[in-house]
Symmetry: C2
Subunit: 193 residues, 2 copies
């Protein structure tokens, strides 16, 4: 709950309301996907009328776009040991996924919605490819290698945080890193087959 006005007290600022709407939207989109996350439910969570959502974000698509602006916060590759980059990347993504609903929301919607798919693609190619290009042997291979890394990262995220496969959920953070790090490392730096 984000309502804090004590019934009859001073109105919130528009900024606070906008933020409350975004919080509720992220949670709903993450939990339900695009279609089933209704504006009415989001407004209810934010403690306001549905029409306020329209006033501030225009329509549902605008709300979704505002709620899923994402920064993967990838580390600069030159700050890490070259041979530990796989482990570092896997650990980073596990952390990101566990403390931010937006990633799950984006993934859920990306799989359902065409606009969402483009958005996932933009985030990953825009932020992943540069990092990969900084560490792989031939920068021309960066898109391909980034796609491979993404496939493994996204696959584990879906198994663990979306589908909730029991064995994937039960694995400890360290086990996931130990298993996936060599895979990612190979996709990053091994010579092309």
């Amino acid at each position: 709950m984000t309502t804090e006005a004590p019934a009859g007290g001073p109105r919130r600022t528009s900024g606070a309301t906008k933020a409350a709407i975004l919080d509720a939207a992220r949670e709903r989109f993450a939990a339900d996907g695009y279609e089933r996350a209704t504006i009415r439910a989001i407004a209810r969570d934010a403690g306001i009328d549905p029409s306020m959502v329209m006033r501030y974000y225009g329509n549902k698509e605008g709300l979704f776009a505002a709620a899923t602006e994402i920064d993967l916060r990838l580390p600069r590759p030159d700050t890490l040991p070259a041979d530990g980059l796989g482990a570092a990347l896997v650990a980073h993504f596990l952390d990101r996924w566990e403390d931010d609903d937006v990633l799950t929301a984006l993934l859920r919607v990306g799989v359902t919605n065409a606009a969402g798919a483009e958005r996932v693609q933009a985030v990953f190619t825009g932020q992943m490819v540069p990092v990969v290009a900084g560490v792989c042997p031939d920068p021309d291979d960066a898109p391909c290698r980034a796609a491979l890394v993404s496939s493994q990262i996204l696959g584990m995220a879906i198994a663990r945080y979306v589908l909730r496969f029991q064995p994937a959920v039960a694995m400890s953070r360290e086990d996931v890193i130990a298993w996936l790090a060599p895979t990612v490392q190979r996709y990053l730096t091994a010579p092309c087959p």
Copy 2:
């Protein structure tokens, strides 16, 4: 289009109509996901009235369940060389995904819908775990290893067939196999870290 009656000719058998409905449903579920694949649209594709869908499949959930009965057709592990199992599995899944809409449909819906997620889980654990158990060192590890294999297979399927990441789509079948096979092989047979 699955309508073939020449306007006023003999009626179809119920079996033909049921099959036409299932075909249309698979296509729509694969293309649009659960919520946006409407019964009306499926019926239109099948060339019949929406009420026929209800008569034959009860309700939308029943239709979805009928449309996504899946056999992964996994090969028996003892028919393959132990060290080529990774490549064989990856190749098998690429083939399956490319000639069967149902897999994409199930994946799309599994990510959106709770019932769909359970279904994905049931298919993968029910059919993948036994195969993995037949080839990995300690059968107790089979669920964990199956989850790892699934994470890489599902991740590539999502990147290539759902999100349509450009580099993932552009890769040739042989390249995908060459990159992913060692990963899958390691998840299957390498000692636990």
